[in-house]
């Protein structure tokens, strides 16, 4: 239990390739923003990116920017700027941090990528409320600020089973945004480019799925904390060949690790599942905390949110509608419970960590008794930690640490070690 013990976490070489991917991605956006030669669309993280690719847009994802504000620990100082103009401290801290950063004219991109001074300017904004309703307010605010159009897709919530009614509605909404997007793009949707983007997204999704599934090996070659940064290309690079290329490298390395029996942490004894958002400003701390207790958080709901197995280039609109409605976050509690239950079995987990993120109810699944129900069904114990994705004022590190240590002690004493 000693915290002085040296913690060994083995980094993946492919992380460098993924880092270069992200750098190239932001430099391309920056160049387009400065030159105005290529149109830029802002899109929600699970928005209809493939349609935008079919019209030649470069795509910027504000949610990824907000995650960077969190991981660089800039967010906590910026959130109050948005609070002061009327956004409650209790709503999405991605929204408040991002708008706060905009008001203060700061961005982590400027600190990380030399030569980039600001976020790219949008020509249009496109949201999908499948993640939450907050994105709608967030994008509408920027649309007014930049005086550019905003279009959106309103997704169903609490969906038990995706039916033809859902598919028809969402695919129609997707078809309906084509015209306004063509008007901004100054060109027609190229169906071949669009279908190609859907095919590439599907391939990227398949590879990312395989990368995450590699964590089922004992010991796991991957940690959830690695996954939260490695998933960057699956979010921002959907519909591009480059994202596929980096995930092929990552998958090769993970498979090599599995073949060699090399784990991401030393002496993996406990295998845990993480439900909810990461605490972006504490990724490193949490990673070391668990690894120091010989516990590996090997799988998560969050990182799996960018797997779109329904995408089909032969039927692009309807398959996108299905893929973006099948998502965990859109579904009913009964579906979610079964989903987590299956994941626990597949990854052979000894316990679950629920992150109750104060400002993200949509990504928090332990508020309506699910933790207790799943514990009863599976016999797998759980721990809830209270925190937030971006607002570090909403967490207590000492309480988190004591809770996690006590949970691992509980697993140890009850003989739950792998």
């Amino acid at each position: 239990m000693s915290e002085e013990k040296k913690v060994i976490i083995r980094r993946l070489n492919a992380a460098k390739d993924l880092g270069k991917f992200m750098a190239d991605y932001y430099y391309e956006l920056d160049a387009a923003s400065k030159s105005g030669k290529q149109k830029i669309a802002w899109c929600t993280s699970v928005g209809p990116a493939e349609i935008l690719r079919g019209m030649g847009y470069l795509i910027y994802f504000p949610e990824t920017h907000s995650a960077m504000l969190g991981s660089t620990r800039m967010a906590t100082d910026l959130i109050p700027k948005a609070n002061a103009m009327g956004y409650s401290p209790e709503i999405c801290s991605y929204l408040t941090a991002d708008i706060g950063a905009f008001l203060e004219n700061v961005t982590p991109l400027a600190n990380i990528f030399k030569g980039i001074e600001s976020i790219p300017r949008p020509d249009v904004l496109v949201y999908n409320t499948n993640q939450c309703r907050d994105v709608q307010d967030w994008f509408n605010w920027y649309a007014k600020r930049f005086n550019v159009p905003v279009v959106g897709i309103e997704t169903y919530r609490n969906v038990p089973e995706v039916t033809p009614v859902h598919i028809t509605s969402i695919s129609r909404q997707m078809e309906n945004i084509v015209q306004p997007l063509e008007d901004v793009a100054g060109r027609k949707l190229d169906m071949d480019e669009f279908k190609n983007a859907v095919a590439l997204s599907r391939e990227c999704s398949n590879l990312w799925d395989k990368c995450l599934a590699a964590a089922a090996a004992r010991p796991s070659p991957l940690t959830f904390f690695d996954g939260t940064t490695l998933m960057g290309p699956a979010v921002v690079g959907r519909g591009t060949q480059k994202a596929i290329d980096v995930y092929q490298l990552l998958l090769e390395e993970l498979n090599e690790r599995v073949a060699a029996g090399e784990g991401a942490i030393e002496d993996e004894r406990y295998r845990l599942y993480w439900d909810g958002m990461p605490v972006w400003g504490r990724l490193s701390m949490h990673s070391k905390l668990f690894a120091g207790l010989q516990a590996n958080v090997i799988a998560s709901t969050y990182c799996s949110s960018w797997i779109f197995s329904a995408l089909d280039a032969g039927n692009p609109f309807e398959s996108m509608a299905r893929a973006y409605t099948e998502l965990f976050i859109v579904r009913s509690d009964a579906y979610k419970e079964k989903y987590i239950q299956d994941k626990l079995a597949f990854f052979q987990c000894d316990g679950i960590i629920y992150h109750d993120a104060k400002t993200c109810p949509n990504n928090t699944n332990c508020r309506y008794g699910m933790a207790q129900r799943l514990e009863k069904t599976t016999g797998i114990p759980s721990l809830t930690i209270h925190g937030d994705l971006n607002d570090l004022r909403l967490l207590s590190d000492e309480q988190t640490k004591t809770n996690v240590e006590a949970f691992i002690e509980q697993l140890e004493e009850n003989g739950k070690a792998a």
Binding site: M1, S2, E3, E375, P381, S382, H386, L394, L395, S396, E398, Q399, T402, N403, E405, A406, E409, Q410, E413, N414
Partner: protein, 263 residues
């Protein structure tokens, strides 16, 4: 440390946010010495002084120590400790030692509360700590004591005198203080307000989780305010188990871990 022949002692130290507790036990799990001191700002010094006094009470010195386990928020600050365990684990261990059956432990500490559930074999089924809020902890009573201009140690006596308890509605310590001021303005008796504060503490704690048949209450707040136990018994409608030294169960649990892991 070397031990003198025939006398191997085991130390449990619980460095809490408010108080540091130390116990001395022998290999047969007899409690030979104990001490409680304010944790202050130097946890290392508080734990050293606690140890010295507990050893003195046990008629022993450091040369008799076979093993020490520390727990509590300051567990990593105890220089002479051989190992650390969390306060959740130690309270569970300590309570099961006194009451070896399926129990729900309610521990009310200076800055945190815990609910811990054990099965009949002493296995931990789960636990909960209070969130980032001091409502229902000793800190709440410490905050209210100067506002009512009464010493902390008089609260238990006053609460027992109440005939018409004041009910406080707020979750928040600061807002509760506003409610208390309002009741003072309205001329409510101090004893009735104090009982209301006690009720607020046990309400907050009992709302954290469901309780099983056998309930154990521990912690410094319980040790110094036994009327809280009686009030909780009235709420749940059955007797509550309280160990001899409710403030020491964490330290006792740590000492028991020291005994278990000494071989």
């Amino acid at each position: 440390m070397k031990t003198q022949e025939g006398k191997r002692l085991y130390i449990g130290v619980d460095v809490g946010a408010s108080r540091t507790k130390a116990v001395v036990m022998d290999a047969h799990k007899n409690l030979l010495g104990r001490e409680v001191r304010p944790s202050g700002t130097d946890f290392g010094e508080a734990s050293r002084r606690c140890l010295a006094n507990a050893l003195h009470m046990a008629g022993a010195d450091e040369s008799h120590i076979a093993r020490t386990v520390s727990t509590g928020y300051g567990r990593k600050n105890v220089a002479y400790s051989d190992d650390t365990r969390t306060e959740i684990g130690c309270h569970a261990k300590g309570c099961y030692f006194y009451f070896p059956k399926a129990i729900t432990i309610i521990d009310i500490g200076g800055q945190d509360n815990k609910i811990i559930k054990l099965d009949e074999a002493g296995r931990r089924l789960g636990f909960k700590m209070n969130r980032k809020c001091a409502a229902g902890t000793g800190a709440f009573l410490e905050e209210m004591s100067p506002r009512l201009d009464i010493p902390l140690e008089d609260m238990d006596r006053l609460a027992r005198q109440s005939e018409d308890m004041v009910k406080l509605g707020s979750f928040c310590t600061v807002f509760s203080a506003t409610e208390v001021l309002q009741n003072i303005r309205q001329g409510r008796k101090v004893a009735d307000i104090v009982k209301g504060l006690f009720f607020s503490v046990i309400k907050r704690v009992s709302e954290m989780d469901s309780l099983s048949e056998n309930v154990v209450m521990t912690g410094g707040v319980v040790a110094h305010n036994p009327f809280l136990v009686r009030m909780m018994e009235e709420i749940i409608g059955r007797s509550i188990l309280v160990p001899d030294y409710p403030q020491l169960t964490g330290a006792v649990g740590a000492a028991l871990y020291a005994i278990e892991n000494s071989s």
